[in-house]
Subunit: 407 residues, 2 copies
């Protein structure tokens, strides 16, 4: 939820069209919308709406018309491949009043890229089909700026044709790697740059609390009256953590400071972070103590081990042991798991989690450090995936609390 | 991409409005849109567009107007909490011409739920604030159907007011668990049911290939002419797998059969699945051989272990070992990892992956079964996350190939 007093002066708004039936039908989760939203935020631009459409020209056209109406800039992702069903360039060109024309130089450059790929992967590609695909990708709206391919597909910046109004459309490829590599070139185009220079800095800061109901924070914000005006405050509860994100212009920095101070005053150490995630704090606490860690978990599908070991090595976490079977959660299981995995990896500290059994059955979490052994029992009800996420979060917080107390 | 001949007769289209600044800004990935899309597909309903908006009434209003224009049913998720910034009920009510009225019976029922929650969690809730929140949640558009809360928030089915046209709007809470529990009640409401009975069955089938470029499949589909008419075919390349999803009405079942046969004929055993994921196939192949498995991976962040152990125990995978440090990828490392983890868990078979080193450096993958030892070296270039996903996919496919050859 966003706090109602939140009034953020929004100078520049961007809208995003994500294309792809696989995204629309939920088989693939969109990574481009969130990535673009954060890049735009860093440029001071607010994302107003994201529209997801399938590979259907009517839907794409209506999404463009919808977003162009209330946004200063429109960005599309996907639909730039070599086959006829990839129709973003054509639809955007029509929408902006710029029919497609063949860019012969671009056709040669794409042809060279495709030749290199064919040489690399070998294969039985039909030359006529390949040439047709290359030509299709070299058809660009007349007067559009071409963004050089980072895969095989060029991107585009397509302003409205002379005599038309409406925002320019940035057309980017769907594969996240290609889109991300092309982004800096897209924002450097004069027609885009001219819009972005109007956007003042938009700051974002995150506070994280543990063990606080959203309603208690809401009551505290209400009591504060207008002290936090100028901040757009969004709160979000997940895995038992309450995340408080403020977005604000530079002049509201004092209000953000008042917010952080007020929350610290009201909630003490239940405010556990002014930025870093719990995973990052656990790693930092290990480093501060000069300890290495190994983790063992039963019946959680490797969730906690993946969180702890996903950082770039070398780090203080040496590894983990994932036991698929759920052990009985007696008092001895979790400490034994922790001790065994410490011995296996030669680690200074250990985390042991006896797997969640049936819904709501107690789970033991044990943290062993050179300073002692801290075990406790928790109980979480709900679907298996929910229980796993919550138990993993409980273990990470128990780990952080034990490590920071030891320090 | 969606194959261009794809023409799916769409009798009923639904549009979805996802609300929440945390989703719009990319901090939380939306789980409701994909879940609803699959539920609707099972009811024969096609999702046309999904619009993501922040907690801002103007954007929500414009999203509703946009979707109402070209859809038979509109569904919203989120924005039903007790605070004033949760404004979905109010905005939808205005949009449908139905001002909010207090439902006193509903207020009592929500009050009872809140009392139970307060009793359970204790806490320092302000009674006046709680009562105000309860009353706010009991304000419903006049003439709307109330869906009983599965958390504290009621859902709504809001038809257009008399004299207005446009689709009914189903208003659902944001937390996925609450939304999912409420869904069956929502679709059973007469005004929704009347729309759904018009939707013929919409089937979906998935074929999965490994080691086939998208362009080769495209060439094969082109050569087939009109043999697959009636199928909406979407192809999607991820982690090196090519996923081919068809959606079709019952009468196109023969076309789907022709597609499956044609792909099998053209690509042989590179078509590895007509439904199940590679993870499911690995587990099935273990069961078919009557073998248990343990896995050890270095420097991959626990990706493969999590995939293998995330199924409900008891299963054939006993567990995994995640080594954070990257070992040198000499010929001996991966087989040694596999043998050590087999011994640790007492498993019949083992998977060992020597961690990816620097970008593009070779990675060893070893599979040991009672039938023998199969090791090979692969090399993947790109960002760390990309390399991890791809190496994990390579390992899963090597595992399946070895296990099915042994069977």
């Amino acid at each position: 939820v966003t706090w109602p007093r939140s009034v953020l002066p929004m100078a520049v708004r961007a809208g995003i069209v994500v294309t792809g039936t696989e995204v629309l039908t939920g088989r693939v989760s969109d990574r481009n919308g969130p990535w673009l939203a954060e890049q735009l935020r860093q440029l001071g631009v607010d994302v107003g709406q994201i529209v997801v459409v399938g590979d259907r020209p009517d839907d794409m056209r209506s999404a463009l018309a919808h977003l162009a109406h209330s946004h200063d800039l429109v960005i599309t992702s996907g639909g730039l491949g070599p086959t006829a069903d990839d129709l973003t360039a054509e639809v955007v060109g029509q929408f902006q009043g710029r029919p497609l024309v063949l860019d012969q130089q671009l056709e040669k450059r794409i042809g060279a890229i495709v030749d290199r790929l064919v040489a690399r992967f070998g294969g039985t590609l039909d030359p006529a089909a390949t040439a047709a695909g290359t030509r299709k990708q070299a058809m660009v709206p007349a007067g559009a700026s071409v963004l050089e391919p980072t895969g095989t597909a060029p991107g585009l910046v397509v302003p409205a044709a002379d005599g038309r109004t409406g925002p320019p459309v940035i057309v980017l490829p769907g594969p996240p790697r290609e889109l991300q590599q092309m982004w800096p070139v897209a924002v450097a185009q004069p027609v885009v740059h001219a819009i972005l220079v109007a956007a003042p800095e938009l700051r974002q800061r995150t506070l994280r609390m543990w063990g606080v109901p959203e309603s208690e924070l809401a009551a505290m914000l209400r009591r504060a009256g207008d002290a936090f005006d100028g901040l757009e405050i969004t709160t979000c509860l997940r895995d038992g953590e309450l995340e408080i994100v403020s977005r604000y212009r530079v002049q509201a920095e004092p209000a953000q400071q008042r917010l952080a101070d007020g929350i610290r005053q009201s909630f003490g150490d239940r405010l556990f972070s002014d930025g870093p995630t719990i995973d990052e704090l656990v790693v930092a606490a290990l480093v501060a103590n000069g300890w290495t860690l190994a983790a063992a978990e039963a019946g959680l599908g490797g969730r906690t081990t993946a969180r702890l070991t996903s950082y770039q090595a070398p780090g203080p976490v040496l590894g983990g042991l994932v036991v698929a079977r759920r052990d009985p959660a007696d008092d001895a299981t979790a400490p034994a798991l922790a001790r065994n995995v410490m011995a296996l990896f030669g680690a200074d500290a250990g985390l042991g989690i006896s797997g969640p059994g049936q819904d709501g059955e107690p789970v033991q979490i044990a943290v062993i450090t050179p300073g002692g052994e801290h075990a406790r029992s928790v109980s979480v009800s709900g679907p298996a995936q929910f229980v796993r996420e919550r138990v993993s979060a409980l273990a990470m917080h128990q780990l952080r609390e034990t490590l920071t107390a030891a320090h």
